[in-house]
């Protein structure tokens, strides 16, 4: 025990050339030991974000900043007017909401759209996507109709032209009838206040 302190330094000075080379190798090895877990952590992080945070269902629309597709849809059963491309070029910024009576989430966002229609002058148009005519009429009667105009897309062909792959979807259309934004899924009050209204405000300037 008492011999140890003097032994240590002596030993190190004795093997100086060998320990120099060993030091170089070990620092490289230490770098590897740091880099490997770091690289793994980076990869795991990306995968975790994609798996948990990122919503893989949300595919960016190919139609952003392009003119809304040409279409002309008949009215929903019991209504007088349908919806066509010309309605979207009225000079007003408007919303186009894709909905269906068979779509549960549409019912969830319905109060949000209703409030938006009541509190602002933004016209909300709708495409009733692949719905049975009497179901659509009954759904609107029961839940209220916040829409300025509704077109009935019975076979879903206009929906394909709009790049629709799930309901609900909501588009922001500028005054010239160009698609400026697409929201996929339920539109919440936060989406309206945080994204939709600020965007419309910016487009109006």
């Amino acid at each position: 025990m008492s011999e140890k302190p003097p032994q240590g330094p002596q030993q190190e000075s004795g093997s100086q050339p060998a320990s120099d080379g060993r030091e170089q190798g070990s620092s490289r090895r230490r770098l590897l030991f740091v880099m490997a877990p770091l690289g793994f952590a980076l990869l795991a992080g990306i995968l975790a974000v994609q798996l948990l945070g990122g919503e893989p269902k949300k595919i960016p629309s190919a139609l952003i900043d392009k003119p809304a597709p040409e279409f002309e849809l008949p009215p929903v059963q019991g209504y007088d007017v349908g919806l066509s491309t010309a309605d979207l070029r009225s000079g007003n910024i408007s919303l186009v909401n894709i909905f269906a009576s068979w779509c549960g989430p549409c019912l969830v966002e319905h109060p949000v759209l209703t409030r938006l229609a009541e509190t602002t002058d933004i016209p909300i148009y709708a495409i009733n996507y692949k719905d049975a005519p009497d179901n659509a009429a009954r759904w609107l009667k029961r839940n209220g109709d916040p829409y300025a105009r509704i077109g009935a897309d019975l076979n879903g062909r206009v929906g394909i032209d709009w790049g629709v792959y799930g309901v609900p979807e909501t588009f922001v259309i500028d005054g010239e009838g160009r698609i400026r934004y697409k929201h996929i899924g339920v539109l919440t009050e936060d989406d309206v206040q945080g994204t939709i209204l600020p965007l419309i405000e910016r487009l109006r300037q």
Binding site: Q7, P60, L63
Partner: protein, 168 residues
């Protein structure tokens, strides 16, 4: 009486045949031209079902996949080329609808990224391996790096004391 029973039987048969007939005439029906139908099926295999994402529209039972199959057949029957059909769909849904994303723009990373990573990693491993082998060969004589150095007299003495050491 027998005639009436016969008529009822005939009516039931008509309903049954009508039902199967209606199914057979759904718009998802294969095209009559076999060459056109073959093209439709090839196209369908290369188009992603956007609802299910991992499947092509040829494999999917989703409503939208069915609608897109109908659309593909309709456009081919109307005389569209294969490229016309894929262009029509990518205009609306973007490149994501293609099972094999086109080799362009940011997709280069997608296509060649793994190969590049393999090359870089392989090169790194190759040089690392060569270096350790070189140092092992050159260091063998001096007994450094790879082979453990023989114990110095000091170390040997320390080892002996440790081994002899009484735990008490």
């Amino acid at each position: 009486m027998r005639a009436r029973r016969f008529l009822i039987g005939l009516a039931i048969a008509a309903v049954l045949f009508g039902a199967t007939g209606a199914k057979a005439f759904s718009p998802d029906e294969p095209l009559t031209d076999p060459a056109l139908e073959a093209r439709a099926q090839t196209l369908n295999k290369g188009l992603r079902c956007l609802v299910c994402q991992g499947q092509s529209i040829a494999d999917s039972n989703a409503e939208l996949a069915r609608d897109l199959r109908v659309l593909v057949r309709e456009r081919l029957a109307a005389g569209d080329s294969d490229d016309d059909v894929t262009d029509y769909l990518t205009d609306r849904y973007g490149d994501f609808i293609l099972m094999n994303p086109p080799v362009k723009g940011a997709n280069y990373v997608l296509w060649f990224g793994p190969v590049a990573a393999l090359l870089v990693g392989g090169t790194a491993v190759f040089f690392a391996f060569r270096r350790t082998r070189a140092s092992r060969l050159s260091g063998a004589g001096r007994g450094s790096a790879s082979a453990p150095a023989p114990l110095t007299p000091d170390e040997q003495r320390r080892l002996d004391t440790l081994l002899d050491d009484d735990p008490s």
